[in-house]
């Protein structure tokens, strides 16, 4: 029993040598013999991706009026999706950058795909503010771009901060991910059999030869980028939350939002990491690299951040009551009992109720229940964002204006289309690039003395 625990506690299970590590991970990419199920899965998500493209074309051609929004609820699922996708991205940055700096070596086998997940999630998140616009073709007017049109951002607007935060985040995430990929790209270049693959990976590897000098520079740059990325974990979602906190709408106007949003981001992000990692490890036989300890650690982070989110709900409720304005108090009741009550209770059930199951270690380490819990938490977090976005304006100051937004086929097409696109790109990433960091796992194995 004790032996078994020691074995699961190890980050690289069994006793693989470097060539084996390299071979097993690289072969997923280079052998190209992926199971039929992989391609069937890809096809399913690719179809959703086509739906996404159609929905975007329709939205741009016809107008945002085809979404369920109205006056007073002029923000709907597009903003919900931004916040949700950005949140998902956060886990990747936390795993790769923060845990790197804190020398949490257990991250090494999951950081690569977590980073890819971040990148793709932020790419999805970056699309939605543009799709949200009434005139999306003028999105660049939010940029401080000197030009003859004389338009210049209005710096007091949180949307400008938001735009800057997301743009920074996607740039840093991309650089960090690519920096980590370079040694592995070189491995793939060296192991590739076909000329095309050699060229493709060779160009991307930027002439990496693996010399000590290279490694030294690489480590410096990698840690530096990690140090730059780390504050982003806190700042990006804090800035996103200011879109709401700066507003005077009841349900938006709350100083708790920045930390509460960051906690929520990590919560949904780790839920998404588990949603991907659990099928990934079983599909590709990576149980030796993504061990139960990884999974359990992910569950623990979910617990911690989830409890913070629950605390956020509590304190928001308390302050709505304590503020003593009729608007906030009405909003408090309307959220739980008003037209959006089903969304609210789904959110509470998923984010607070289901989370409590993770107190049991058996559930934290059994894959199928954990996978289901992770999905439910993803649903709950989407609901949380939706509830925040729509309930405030739906019942704000003048009752004459109260109205609810609905959800149309386009809202669903864009949400599920973006999920499909995200996963389709994840599949392509797994096919083209090493989903697990070869050099870091090898390093890990070395430090654990297994090699």
């Amino acid at each position: 029993m004790a032996e078994a625990r020691a074995a699961t506690a190890k980050l690289v299970r069994g006793d693989p040598g470097y060539p084996e590590i390299t071979g097993r991970i690289a072969s997923i990419v280079l052998a190209g013999r992926l199971p039929r199920a992989f391609w069937l899965g890809f096809l399913a998500f690719f179809l959703l991706m086509l739906l996404f493209l159609f929905a975007i074309a329709y939205l741009v051609a016809v107008g945002v009026g085809k979404l369920g929004i109205d006056i007073p609820v002029a923000w709907g699922t597009m903003i919900t999706n931004v916040v949700w996708w950005i949140g998902i991205g956060h886990a990747g940055t936390l795993i790769s950058a923060v845990l790197l700096l804190f020398r949490q070596h257990w991250r090494n086998s999951i950081n690569r795909f977590a980073e890819a997940m971040t990148l793709l999630a932020v790419a999805m998140a970056g699309l939605f503010p543009i799709l949200h616009l009434g005139r999306p073709w003028f999105f660049y007017w939010l940029l401080p771009m000197p030009n003859t049109h004389m338009h210049w951002p209005q710096w007091r607007s949180p949307l400008v901060w938001d735009f800057a935060a997301i743009a920074t985040y996607i740039t840093v995430s991309l650089l960090f991910w690519y920096m980590g990929l370079i040694p592995d790209l070189a491995v793939l270049r060296d192991r590739a059999k076909s000329r095309g693959a050699q060229l493709f990976y060779g160009i991307l590897a930027l002439g990496w030869r693996g010399s000590a000098y290279h490694w030294k520079k690489h480590q410096t740059a990698y840690f530096l980028l990690a140090a730059i990325a780390t504050p982003l974990v806190v700042s990006v979602h804090s800035v996103v939350s200011l879109d709401f906190a700066v507003g005077i709408v009841p349900g938006y106007h709350s100083t708790i939002f920045p930390p509460y949003f960051v906690a929520g981001a990590l919560y949904s992000g780790f839920a998404m990491v588990l949603t991907i990692a659990i099928p990934l490890r079983s599909a590709f036989g990576l149980q030796d690299f993504i061990t139960e300890r990884h999974i359990e650690n992910g569950a623990r982070v979910m617990m911690a951040s989830g409890m913070l989110v629950a605390y956020g709900y509590l304190s928001e409720t308390f302050y709505d009551w304590y503020a003593g304005t009729p608007f906030d108090q009405y909003e408090l009741v309307a959220r739980a009992l008003g037209p959006y009550a089903p969304c609210f209770w789904v959110m509470i059930a998923c984010n607070v109720g289901v989370l409590q199951l993770l107190w049991f270690r058996r559930l934290r380490t059994s894959m199928v229940p954990l996978f289901i819990i992770a999905i439910l938490i993803n649903v709950g977090m989407w609901m949380e964002r939706f509830v925040i976005v729509v309930t405030g304006p739906a019942q704000d100051f003048l009752p004459s204006s109260w109205n609810t937004a609905t959800l149309t086929w386009l809202d669903f097409a864009l949400l599920f289309g973006s999920l499909g696109t995200f996963f389709a790109l994840m599949f392509l990433f797994i096919r083209i690039l090493p989903a697990i960091s070869i050099f870091e796992v090898a390093e890990e194995a070395h430090e654990e003395g297994s090699a």
Partner: protein, 991 residues
């Protein structure tokens, strides 16, 4: 002769059978080779006539073919020959500067004076004519929408003969034949059907027709006609008479189911006079008091200090009970609908104001109620003070019948020729007349109207009528003052004025409408050229109001038989905007929320909450209403303050034959209407069908939720504490940002909620002025309506008898505007004079400003609502105000106090090197308001009207605790309840 007729043409038959026909023929005309076809070819192609006669050879045919092909497109080139730019431009035309012309809009036969703004010959906006007694400078929603009807691309454009396109000269040719017949038969079998008529010129022409064809029949058809008042007054005076109430002289007013503020040809004048006695300023401590009994919720009941929901059939009993208390008539001590204590208090109040009291009765109420009202007025000394009588301005020749009489004669086959001018009886005649079927049996039917409506389709001939803005004519106001209808444009769609048709029937074909109208006024009206020019220019013909009739008759006191109510009654009402259906194709009116229900694009049956509960229906449930053989299914809408066991059914909807805008919107309830009792229907059967249908409204929540939104109090409270509306606990205004300096003007607005009657004229005016699109039923249902200005309506108190408050909400133009700080692209900015301007071209549509606006006054172009791109040929593009941008999809828009008018005044002031005078700028909403509840001006100028109003103790800012510091402020609503009915007012607290 039509194609159908031609089928029996022996010549055609012979041509087809005789084998004499050419191998190919283009039309049955050519086949028959009739002289008519020859004549057509000759007139159309005179130069070809000779060639055509000679048999063409093959070469000539080929030449003609080639030429046809080459020149076929030339008809598309309509560039005028010999056009020249202005060298010496006309004296009064400055490109870019609007001109204003006085004219008259005719609604329900009566004239409303208007001043029309015209840009380079395009009428774009209607204002009231301050000199006209029915307008006094104000307008209603229907007047505002006249420009849209003018340009409506779905108006009738061509004369139709048996549904086939024809032309005006063919029509005149038909008239010639008709005249010959009419002369021969002295007019027997000929009937002229027209709407209610006050036009003196038309009346003059009809009189000439009656002289020429003595046996002809005149039918005055008005689906909204109510005979109660006419009968009562005729019984008193022996001649058609009209009552003229003076609300400005009345201290105590009792309305017996009379929507005096929202209906009738004198409503705008009544609104102004009523408001004058209600507004409390500075030292004043008095206001008029209004009691209203109403059988369906109206703005009058909402404005009243006390109102009771009384089913229409119970109003006579209430009138009798009140009359008995005033010593008029005997018996009838009580009426269950209104408590005895209330009747006692009302009677006491009336008696305490002799000569300053007034009782009015609703037009659709029976004769007896009107007689009782007159008797009460006589007892209260109202005659000559608060009530006058004049000879009715309506033309009603002796022997004229209504639609019922006409239908009878048609049924007996006595009508062989029916000329219908501007009426639509096939749609709006009472259902039990089956008029449309009867119409088809009349051999010769001629219809002139703005639309190819049900009557046009049933008639053999249809001629497009000219809109009021494109014809010459005249009309009289409710007080009898005549005014000229002056065209702003030549008929856009080839319409013809009724005068032209009547004149043609008299054998004068080449008279233009102007010549006809001018001739009448020269020969009969005694206007020389100078007087005519002055009348046209000023918009009224002076001294045409008939003299007051001295009241020396003894009022008749009828006996009222108490009828125990049974079953569910139907109360028919005219839609406030579509009226009987004549404006059904006007999208502005379809989409303008009804004052109380806020319903748009439909006419659900209104009913009381208690009745709905008893029937087990909720808003949106479909019911079937049956009476006799007639049955109508429509959704219901539950309305607070509606009398119990009554359904309000709204006329004017559900037309099958009109443009695409009005087609099949709502439900046609005319089939239920009975000719004998057009306004009330007793004891109908109501069943649930189990279906659901949508009821589209623009306001979904009716209560203020205890919030401090519409502040209101009683006159007594105001006298005791004038500052009652102030909230001292409001925190001082703190902001991070430095205050705005206003070196020039600081525009501001005050809205007096005591004066506001919720009539929606301002909303319609705003739409017309600011190029605000309509979005259609589906989009309103999605919450995408675009009105910049809305009137919120809140209910409070008991649900069966709620107090109603109206609050017009334009942009507040906040000093610390939440919208301005959150726009990422600087599209909403603070101007130097304090407006929250919206830069449409800069907006990318993040909608953050709307999210952050606590008043939710911003409107977003969710879709492309006005696709008038380059090269677009929609006539509606000409309707646009050139001073206001037409917004595209994805752009936020909002009220800017009509910034185009501000800038126009600023330019004029700069040219004159003068400061902008107070009152030089009037936003469209303020200009339209019949009660002048909206005042706009410069807050920096301490002597301006707006500054003085802001200094009033009743002044308050909406949601002032949010520190937005609005520029638009409100004057708290004052009510003047009867202290003797204190218990009664307690039921409806806080207004």
């Amino acid at each position: 002769m039509s194609v159908i007729d031609r089928g029996h043409d022996p010549r055609l038959r012979a041509a087809l059978l005789g084998g004499r026909s050419p191998a190919f023929w283009r039309s049955l005309d050519e086949l028959a080779d009739t002289p008519a076809f020859r004549a057509f070819v000759d007139s159309e192609f005179p130069r070809l006539a000779g060639r055509f006669a000679a048999a063409p050879d093959r070469r000539a045919v080929l030449k003609l073919l080639a030429a046809s092909l080459a020149m076929g497109g030339l008809t598309a080139c309509t560039k005028a020959d010999h056009i020249l730019p202005y060298v010496d431009k006309p004296a009064d035309v400055v490109p870019g500067k609007a001109l204003h012309y006085a004219t008259t809009l005719v609604v329900g036969g009566y004239g409303f004076g208007a001043v029309v703004e015209s840009h380079e010959g395009r009428p774009t906006k209607i204002e009231g004519n301050p000199d006209h007694p029915a307008s006094l400078g104000a307008t209603d929603a229907i007047m505002q929408a006249a420009c849209l009807s003018l340009y409506d691309p779905e108006r009738s454009r061509l004369p139709l003969r048996d549904g086939q396109p024809s032309d005006w000269s063919a029509f005149l040719a038909g008239i010639t034949t008709l005249r010959a017949e009419l002369s021969a038969r002295r007019g027997a079998g000929f009937a002229l059907m027209t709407g209610p008529l006050t036009s003196l010129t038309q009346a003059w022409l009809v009189e000439q027709l009656r002289a020429a064809y003595p046996q002809m029949l005149v039918c005055i058809h008005d689906p909204l006609a109510a005979t109660g008042a006419d009968d009562a007054l005729a019984s008193l005076f022996g001649a058609p008479t009209r009552i003229l109430p003076h609300f400005d002289k009345a201290d105590v007013i009792v309305s017996l189911d009379d929507d005096l503020l929202g209906d009738g040809p004198g409503k705008l004048a009544h609104d102004r006079a009523f408001a004058a006695r209600r507004i409390v300023r500075d030292g004043a401590r008095t206001m008029a008091r209004l009691y209203a009994m109403e059988s369906t919720p109206t703005v009058t009941g909402a404005t009243a200090d006390h109102h009771w929901a009384v089913r229409a059939s119970a109003v006579p009993a209430v009138a009798a009970a009140l009359a008995a208390r005033l010593g008029v008539g005997g018996g009838a001590p009580g009426a269950a609908a209104v408590p005895d204590a209330a009747l006692d208090a009302i009677a006491a109040d009336l008696r305490a104001a002799p000569g300053r009291a007034l009782v009015t009765a609703g037009a659709h109420q029976p004769k007896e109620v009107h007689q009782l009202a007159q008797a009460m007025n006589a007892a209260l000394g109202a005659f000559g003070t608060t009530v006058d009588y004049i000879a009715s301005p309506e033309y009603r020749p002796a022997g004229a019948v209504d639609v019922v009489g006409l239908a009878e004669r048609m049924g007996r086959g006595e009508v062989t020729t029916l000329l219908m001018l501007g009426v639509n009886p096939a749609y709006d005649a009472p259902g039990d007349l089956a008029f449309a079927d009867a119409l088809r049996k009349v051999p010769r039917t001629i219809h002139a109207g703005l639309y190819v409506d049900a009557t046009a389709k049933a008639a053999r001939w249809h001629v497009p009528a000219a809109h009021d803005l494109e014809r010459w004519g005249d009309a009289r106001a409710f007080d009898g003052t005549a005014s000229i209808v002056q065209p702003l444009v030549r008929p856009l769609y080839g319409g013809h004025a009724a005068e032209e048709i009547l004149s043609a029937l008299l054998g004068r074909y080449n008279f233009t409408p102007l010549e006809i109208v001018r001739e009448f006024w020269r020969t009969e009206g005694g206007l020389d050229d100078a007087a005519w020019a002055a009348a046209v220019q000023k918009g009224i013909v002076p001294d045409t109001a008939p003299p007051r009739i001295l009241f020396d008759a003894r009022p008749i006191v009828p006996a009222i038989a108490a009828q125990p109510p049974s079953g569910i009654d139907v109360r028919f009402v005219a839609d406030p905007w579509l009226r009987g259906g004549e404006f059904a194709n006007n999208a502005w009116l379809q989409e303008l929320p009804r004052p109380l229900s806020k319903i748009v694009w439909g006419n659900p049956a209104l009913l009381a909450p208690a009745t709905a509960a008893r029937l087990g229906v909720a808003t949106g449930d479909v019911i079937a209403v049956a009476s006799g053989n007639a049955r109508v299914t429509l959704p219901v809408s539950v309305e607070p303050g509606h009398p119990e066991e009554v359904l309000t059914l709204t006329l004017g909807f559900g037309q099958k034959d009109t443009g695409a805008v009005g087609k099949d919107v709502g439900t046609d309830v005319y089939p239920l209407r009975a000719a004998s009792s057009p306004w009330m229907l007793a004891d109908v059967t109501v069943t649930r069908t189990g279906d659901r249908a949508r009821v589209i409204t623009t306001q979904h929540h009716q209560s203020m939720e205890g919030r401090d939104i519409v502040r209101s109090g009683t006159l007594a409270e105001y006298v005791a504490d004038p500052d009652f509306a102030e909230r001292p606990e409001t925190p001082a205004s703190d902001t991070l940002y430095p205050p705005w300096p206003y070196r020039e003007e600081a525009w501001a607005m005050v809205i007096d909620q005591t004066a506001c009657i919720g009539c929606m004229a301002c909303v319609s005016a705003c739409q017309a002025e600011n190029n605000i699109p309509t979005v259609g039923a589906d989009e309103v249902a999605n919450g995408h309506e675009m009105h910049w200005l809305r009137i919120d309506r809140y209910y409070s108190g008991a649900v069966d008898r709620p107090a109603v408050d109206f609050q017009p909400v334009p942009c507040m133009q906040c000093e610390d505007a939440p919208c301005e700080v959150v726009c990422p692209v600087n599209a909403t900015v603070h101007t130097h004079d304090g407006l929250n301007a919206q830069v449409y071209n800069r907006c990318v549509g993040t909608r953050y400003c709307s999210q952050n606006c606590p008043y939710k006054v911003r409107r977003f172009n969710f879709l492309e609502y006005q696709p008038y791109g380059e090269g677009s040929a929609s006539p509606l593009a000409a309707l646009m105000n050139p001073d206001v941008s037409v917004r595209s999809r994805g752009v936020m828009e909002k009220c800017t106090y009509c910034v185009q008018r501000i800038e126009r005044a600023r330019i004029d002031a700069r040219i004159a090197d003068q400061p902008i005078a107070d009152g030089a700028i009037t936003p469209a909403c303020a200009q339209a308001c019949p009660t002048q509840a909206i005042v706009f001006g410069d807050k920096n100028n301490t002597t301006s009207r707006v500054s003085r109003l802001k200094a009033q103790p009743l002044n308050y800012a909406l949601l002032d605790d949010l520190n937005t510091r609005p520029r638009t402020t409100y004057l708290a609503r004052l009510r003047n309840p009867n202290p003797a009915l204190a218990q009664d007012t307690k039921e409806t607290p806080n207004g």
